[in-house]
């Protein structure tokens, strides 16, 4: 029954999305319309569209999941996602809009007068887009499995098909209309249940954060293990186990001693009320004061890790291609600024909610910590904590919000990746841009879909932070230096992109392939932004200073265009580049 209402809600979002796409296609006539929506979008609606595009599966599901496991230290994720927009606002928004560039590669080419720099930027954009798409599609798979019991690959396939349908019918203009609506769907979906959840918390237990930190089963709970898992048990726990535990068949009561226990897939464990919640050894779940307070976790050098994560998220936002392309839909630089400032508010408003879900999930849905499906807490919490028809409706509401989150972010990212693929790679073979765009959409979605099947499953918010790390170490230095430092040259920019991209991808790859390292190497590889970003900037500056003859000769004119309001007329610096 609950599955039916959730499925209907998600289906409704998919239908509305495609419907809006088809509806607005009739209005998109020219190629320019197709790539970037007409600029006549008011700032608050543009801000809704940016926020709608930005709040991905990682925001909607992943943050709550990480807070549920990691507590105080996980709060950096939403803070970082929101603060990133302050940096985008203060250092990038207006000049980037005034550059007149549609996309980041357009900006690179215009600023540096170099096709090579454009190509290097395109590669970075595609890499970031794909890295970001993988967790979106994986998250959709998780959501559908949890709600409907479908195999893990179904969700990703559904989202990919929806995105392709949207793109085939409308392109970017569609996206602006749809994304704006979807922010409000997502906010409504996640915020409305919060009130009821807090009421349920007060009804069920003494509303004390320390009680949440302890993570004990509130009622007798039967957990069925979907995968073979090694559980870390902290105190002697009396369970009823049906299946295989520690290699022995069990059909009844079993005392789990403190320590590690291997539980075979398919086993069910029934926990009594008040038992401490055991967690998989590799889940980094914390409890007690280590959950409630920061920097108490088991990870070494957690101070460095928090700092490096902050740097990745702060600078990564300005490097996200699907966000930057939206600045262009503002009529001028000032509107771009107001849009970005509004986004800070809209995104911040949204981020008040996931923390509540994550914390209360420890009380009402602790079994998700046992099975390692904490990313599903937002989906399951409302119906569990509230119950009845109301709980079912709220559960359907969050399911709809989750569907909106997957589809909007995946659409925005796919538009960006597709734009780059079609303009810079396929454009050479296919003359007609609209046709190239439609064809390029297929690999843009298919590659991350396949990557998602083979790649290791990380918590959603952690997986997304990888894309932020690459964005922070490649696109962010390019934009910051390109906008504020007139001596940046094309070779310098390419050097910065190469150093940032290669080092951050290598570090992430090593951390994933060799997760057993410990100490400083482990911390530095897992969170590389703190040392790769300075190296990338240093490479760009150094090579630029060594190649002064490669600087754009009329760079001053470009600077005039970037930094002066559009109301001022400059015949040479801003020829005919006026908003309609």
């Amino acid at each position: 029954m609950k599955a039916v209402s959730a499925a209907l809600a998600m289906l409704a979002v998919v239908v509305i999305t495609i419907g809006l796409a088809v509806f607005s296609t009739r209005r998109a006539r020219t190629t320019a319309d197709f790539f970037v929506a007409a600029r006549a979008v008011p700032p608050w609606w543009n801000a809704s569209a940016i926020s709608g595009e930005y709040l991905s599966a990682a925001s909607f599901l992943g943050i709550a999941g990480l807070v549920m496991l990691g507590g105080a230290d996980a709060l950096w994720f939403p803070v970082g996602y929101a603060v990133g927009f302050v940096l985008l606002l203060a250092l990038v928004a207006a000049p980037l809009r005034r550059s007149g560039a549609y996309t980041v590669p357009d900006f690179a080419e215009a600023r540096l007068a170099s096709r090579g720099a454009r190509l290097a930027t395109s590669v970075a954009v595609v890499a970031i887009g794909w890295l970001y798409l993988v967790p979106q599609l994986q998250g959709a798979g998780l959501a559908l499995r949890v709600l409907l019991g479908t195999p893990i690959w179904v969700g990703g396939l559904v989202v990919a098909a929806t995105v392709l349908a949207v793109l085939a019918s409308g392109g970017m203009r569609t996206a602006t209309l749809v994304q704006g609506v979807q922010y409000w769907i997502k906010l409504f979906a996640i915020a409305v249940p919060v009130v009821f959840l807090i009421a349920a918390w007060h009804g069920a237990a003494s509303p004390d954060v320390r009680a949440l930190a302890e993570a004990k089963f509130l009622q007798p709970t039967t957990v069925s293990m979907e995968a073979t898992t090694t559980l870390q048990v902290e105190e002697p726990t009396e369970v009823v186990a049906v299946g295989q535990v520690d290699g022995l068949a069990s059909q009844g009561p079993l005392l789990l001693a403190p320590g590690r226990h291997a539980v075979e897939a398919g086993t069910t464990l029934a926990f009594p009320t008040g038992a401490a919640v055991p967690t998989p050894v590799d889940s980094q779940a914390l409890s007690g004061p280590r959950w409630a307070f920061p920097l108490e976790g088991s990870a070494e050098h957690s101070g460095y890790r928090s700092l490096a994560l902050m740097i990745a998220l702060f600078f990564g936002t300005m490097g996200l291609p699907h966000i930057l392309v939206r600045l262009y839909t503002n009529p001028d630089g000032r509107a771009a600024r107001r849009t970005a400032a509004t986004v800070v508010g809209l995104v911040g408003l949204f981020y008040l909610a996931p923390t509540v879900y994550g914390a209360l999930g420890r009380l009402f849905t602790p079994e998700l910590m046992v099975t390692g499906s904490s990313d599903a807490v937002v989906l399951l919490l409302p119906q569990r904590a509230i119950g009845g028809v109301g709980g079912q409706l709220l559960g359907a509401l969050v399911a709809a919000g989750a569907a909106a989150a997957f589809i909007t972010t995946a659409t925005g990212l796919t538009v960006s990746v597709t734009g780059v693929l079609s303009q810079d790679l396929m454009g050479r073979f296919i003359r007609e841009p609209v046709r190239a765009f439609r064809l390029a959409a297929v690999p843009a979605v298919l590659v991350p879909l396949l990557l998602g099947f083979v790649a290791a499953r990380l918590p959603l918010a952690s997986a997304v932070s990888l894309a932020f790390t690459v964005a922070a170490t490649t696109i962010a230095p390019l934009l910051l230096l390109g906008i504020w430092w007139r001596r940046l040259t094309a070779p310098g920019a390419v050097a910065g992109l190469a150093v940032g991209g290669v080092l951050s991808l290598a570090a992430i790859g090593l951390a994933t392939l060799a997760p057993s390292t410990s100490g400083w190497p482990s911390a530095l590889l897992a969170q590389p932004a703190a040392w790769v970003l300075p190296l990338s900037v240093a490479a760009a500056v150094l090579v630029s200073l060594l190649t002064p003859d490669r600087a754009r000769p009329d760079v001053w004119r470009f600077m005039v265009r970037l930094h002066t309001p559009e109301t001022l007329e400059f015949k040479r610096s801003r020829p005919q580049e006026q908003a309609p």
């Binding site: 105080a72 803070v79 930094h563």
Partner: protein, 126 residues
């Protein structure tokens, strides 16, 4: 405020003055546009003030956050401070940070526009 600029029509300055002291005979807008040394001075001043303002906004947001992290790293007792039923850490990073950064954002927007207006007024003066 900048709708009609005398940029093109006032090419020639008439009058008896032929001083040795060179006075700017062209609007600043043209100086900026044509990348003369004087125009570069004006533009550099604008870029500097905008960059300073942008960095100030970033610092206003980032430094307190770094301070909070550093305080928690250096003094373990800070981590467990409580405010009513909530740990201070959760109150700061789960709630208060969001209205604070929203405020800084709009403060920045206002001042950035003021910098631009001043620059535009400067160009209109000459």
């Amino acid at each position: 405020m900048s709708g009609e600029r005398p940029s093109n029509r006032r090419e020639v300055v008439r009058g008896p003055r032929r001083d040795v002291r060179r006075r700017p005979t062209r609007p600043v807008a043209t100086e900026v546009d044509e990348q003369t040394a004087l125009g570069q001075v004006y533009l550099r001043a604008l870029i500097r003030s905008q960059l300073r303002l942008g960095l100030a906004a970033v610092a206003l947001v980032v430094l307190p956050l770094l301070g909070v992290l550093a305080a928690a790293a250096m003094w373990p007792q800070v981590r467990s401070l409580q405010v009513g039923p909530l740990p201070l850490w959760w109150l700061l990073l789960g709630l208060l940070v969001y209205p604070a950064i929203f405020g800084v954002g709009w403060w920045y927007v206002r001042l950035a526009q003021r910098n631009e207006d001043r620059f535009a007024a400067l160009l209109d003066e000459e």
